[in-house]
């Protein structure tokens, strides 16, 4: 049971760390200054959430575990994040669509976590939900702006959707640790689908049908992209073990 809790905490932490790292790569490269600031602010919120989850995990694991060791010294197969968050940034359309698909999932997930008997997880969810609401509003507006914008912005968003959609199915299929803990992930799908459809309708996008859904991330089987991301994220601690500044 305790193993399932720490694995689930790592799932929550890894999702936010990896997406935070992805978004941070936009720093200095955003399409306009204000949106560069927006995506990096979102990155900061996500990394803050990751820290809260890693700190709790480290306390539970004991035996010298720390938030830094969990982030910097685990291998690819030990990361539990979903496949969606590790997908490359691509263009702006792909980044913001990934953010929208994930923020909308996170929004309903954190609302669900508020009612968990584990009050520490519920508290992190309560704190983070305020930030996630802001991310969801921002990313929803961008999906609509691009989908309902020019021919080119619509085409780019459509391509991003074709690229990312197959990574959304995994979010609602329980991993072993979710089953053990009784986290009813499938119960989130209705609200999420409704939200996605509502925004896609405004954006003149159609929810893709009949797509083969990729799975594996939640149990540590990742796409080729995660390894590359981790080599950058973990470079300093791997090269200069224990370095501080």
């Amino acid at each position: 049971m305790s193993r399932s809790i720490t694995e689930y905490l790592l799932y929550l932490a890894d999702n936010t760390l990896i997406l935070g790292q992805r978004n941070a790569a936009w720093c200095g490269h955003g399409p306009v200054l204000e949106q560069d600031i927006a995506i990096t602010n979102i990155s900061l919120d996500l990394i803050g959430q990751a820290r809260s989850f890693y700190q709790y995990t480290a306390e539970m694991l004991g035996e010298g575990a720390t938030e830094d060791r969990l982030a910097y010294l685990r291998t690819e197969r030990e990361f539990k994040n979903c496949l969606l968050v590790e997908q490359p940034n691509g263009d702006w359309a792909q980044t913001l669509l990934r953010q929208f698909l994930f923020s909308s999932y996170q929004f309903y997930l954190y609302r669900y976590l508020l009612n968990l008997p584990d009050t520490r997880i519920a508290a992190i969810a309560e704190k983070s939900l305020k930030e996630v609401s802001y991310h969801l509003r921002w990313s929803s507006e961008w999906v609509i702006r691009m989908g309902d914008g020019t021919d080119e912005s619509h085409r780019r968003l459509k391509e991003a959707l074709d690229e990312l959609w197959s990574y959304t199915g995994e979010l609602f299929l329980p991993a072993g640790y979710e089953k053990d803990l009784g986290i009813e992930v499938a119960s989130l799908e209705n609200d999420w689908s409704k939200k996605v459809k509502e925004v896609f309708d405004e954006a003149n996008l159609t929810v893709p049908g009949n797509v083969f859904m990729q799975t594996g991330g939640k149990s540590g089987m990742h796409s080729e992209h995660l390894g590359h991301l981790l080599t950058e994220l973990q470079y300093m601690q791997r090269t200069y073990p224990g370095c501080e500044w």
Binding site: L44, L46, I47, Q49, R51, A123, I124, E141, I144
Partner: protein, 166 residues
Amino acid sequence: MNIASTDINTIWSYLEAIKDPEIPVLSIVDLGMVRDIHFHDEELEVIITPTYTGCPAMDMIAASIRAELAAKGFSTIKITHSISPAWTTDWMSEKGKQQLKEYGIAPPNPKQQVCNDKLFAPDEAVQCPHCESWHTQRISEFGSTACKALYQCDECKEPFDYFKCH
């Protein structure tokens, strides 16, 4: 020094000296970050809460609290981080809001105006902290720190930070 005889209100006043490193006019007390202070025998416990989960100032604030209280003679200090209930701008004091405005940052509006999840909602009416005009517009929902948004005044043309409701 017999710390247990120190009045709790005096401790609060010591903490008023500690400013948010990002907004050096605003004390952590006026910001609503200090939630409670307790004595446990010889130990003084200060409970603080972050504004945003990723707030990079938390470690520095905790270190400042230790330094300030150590300078006042307290040797055993425990700093506890609490995240529930989640921090809200409603906890900012009126004095704090006034200080923000004088510093050039528009203080947060009362919450009911904001926590609005409607898409493309009209910009909140925010008063320019420089010329007090209400003719302002939002330039960006996100600003120089997690807690701020960027606005510009249509009257005096000055851009300014708005401490957004949360």
